[in-house]
């Protein structure tokens, strides 16, 4: 019998770092998501900056990439996708399904009756 694996469905965002380039020069998707109130898009240094004499003097001197945090709260409005001038974002919505109970025991058909016909708790 297979274990039923449950995952909370959420939109998936694909980020093309090459098309984007250095995110800190743009950040339009960050602003777009902030403007909707969701605030799920952030930016982060692509690599940890060097220490010592090569340490960057300004935040803008550090190469950044876009990151996404908390896609659970994304409703797929696509304002981020629309805002990107380099077309670096793609949003994929999860499959639509109706609400369903979470399967806790894959071997049980209904209440106490198992798939093989045996009964977990006798009714009499």
């Amino acid at each position: 019998m297979e274990d039923y694996i449950y995952t909370t469905p959420r939109p998936v965002i694909y980020y093309d770092a090459e098309s984007c380039g250095n995110a800190i020069q743009c950040l339009k998707c960050v602003q777009a998501c902030l403007d909707t109130g969701h605030n799920l898009i952030g930016f982060m240094n692509t690599d940890s900056p060097p220490i010592g004499e090569n340490a960057p003097g300004r935040l803008e001197d550090i190469h950044h990439m876009i990151i996404f945090s908390g896609m659970i709260n994304c409703n797929g409005c696509k304002k981020c996708v629309d805002a990107c001038p380099k077309k670096a974002l793609t949003l994929e919505m999860p499959e639509q399904r109706s609400p369903s109970p979470k399967v806790q025991r894959a071997d049980t058909v209904f209440c106490v009756i198992n798939r093989d016909g045996s009964v977990t708790i006798p009714r009499d």
Binding site: T8, R10, Q31, L34, N39, P49, I51, L59, I67, S69
Partner: protein
């Protein structure tokens, strides 16, 4: 007292135990990596990088345990809400200087810079040397740090004390943050996903005195705006505020907003049912 206090408080709360502010504990195994990650050039890779992993590490919203454990064991960093008086006591336990810098959750998610992270002395040198691009970072004296705490309390920013890992030698306190449930990611992690280790409830709960409350504001009270946790409720029949002890995090921001002095903080332990509710 919470589990941390019982085991690492030596008779008081863990964050009021001077042992957790010893110079050597910040350099000890189980803590020094977190101190270095927060103090040095890898800070954003560490902090923002953790935030970027949230969806991968939380496949099922109903079971946040994996992420909770990962926070405790891998990042060795977690927070607890404290009210103003405990925040001021913590400031007294620290050496000078304090490092006031921007909050990563706000800056790197598009908000204008707000200086809301008050780091303690073990990271001061490292932060200034290794992150020269943070040109708005300030060093504060003890008195300036306390004034900052009072201002945060007045304007509705949660005080939270963060540690650099739980190990057998103790729990070093490394930074005081000033959070909101809307844009602080660890607070959101706790409230939305139930990730316990990202933000623990405080050692207190707030209680409203209905008699004093009734003498008070006739319009929508400021305390309603201040509660980030949904614990502050309005009772339209009695026309007073009510705080749900099960939901209250004991931050005391409602108390700061009450013009009638109708809100008091009491020990969480004064409600027997809250013994495990952190």
């Amino acid at each position: 007292m919470c589990k941390y206090c019982v085991e690492y408080g030596n008779g008081t709360k863990w964050y009021l135990n001077p042992d957790n502010y010893r110079d050597e504990i910040y350099k000890a195994e189980g803590h020094e990596n977190t101190v270095r990650m927060l103090g040095g050039a890898e800070k954003n890779t560490f902090e923002v990088g953790t935030m970027a992993q949230i969806d991968i590490m939380l496949p099922d919203l109903n079971y946040a345990n994996t992420l909770s454990m990962a926070l405790e064991n891998m990042t060795a960093h977690g927070g607890q809400i404290v009210p103003l008086e405990d925040a001021l006591k913590i400031i007294d336990l620290c050496q000078e200087p304090f490092v006031l810098m921007h909050c990563a959750c706000r800056r790197y998610f598009g908000r204008p810079d707000v200086l809301r992270c008050l780091f303690f002395w073990p990271v001061a040198d490292m932060a200034l040397k290794e992150r020269p691009w943070e040109t708005d970072t300030k060093l504060l004296t003890r008195e300036e740090a306390k004034a900052f705490e009072r201002e945060c309390d007045r304007t509705g920013f949660l005080h939270s004390i963060w540690h650099a890992g739980v190990n057998s030698d103790g729990i070093p306190a490394i930074v005081m943050c000033h959070c909101t449930s809307t844009d602080c990611i660890p607070t959101k992690f706790r409230l939305s996903y139930g990730i316990m280790n990202s933000q623990r409830k405080g050692e207190y709960v707030s209680v409203v005195d209905p008699v004093r409350c009734k003498q008070g504001c006739k319009e929508i009270p400021l305390c309603m705006q201040r509660c980030q946790f949904g614990a502050m409720r309005y009772n339209p029949i009695d026309r007073v505020q009510y705080i749900d002890p099960q939901a209250c995090y004991g931050c005391g921001l409602c108390r700061a907003a009450c013009s009638q002095g109708a809100i008091k903080l009491t020990d969480r332990s004064s409600f027997p049912s809250l013994v495990d509710n952190w």
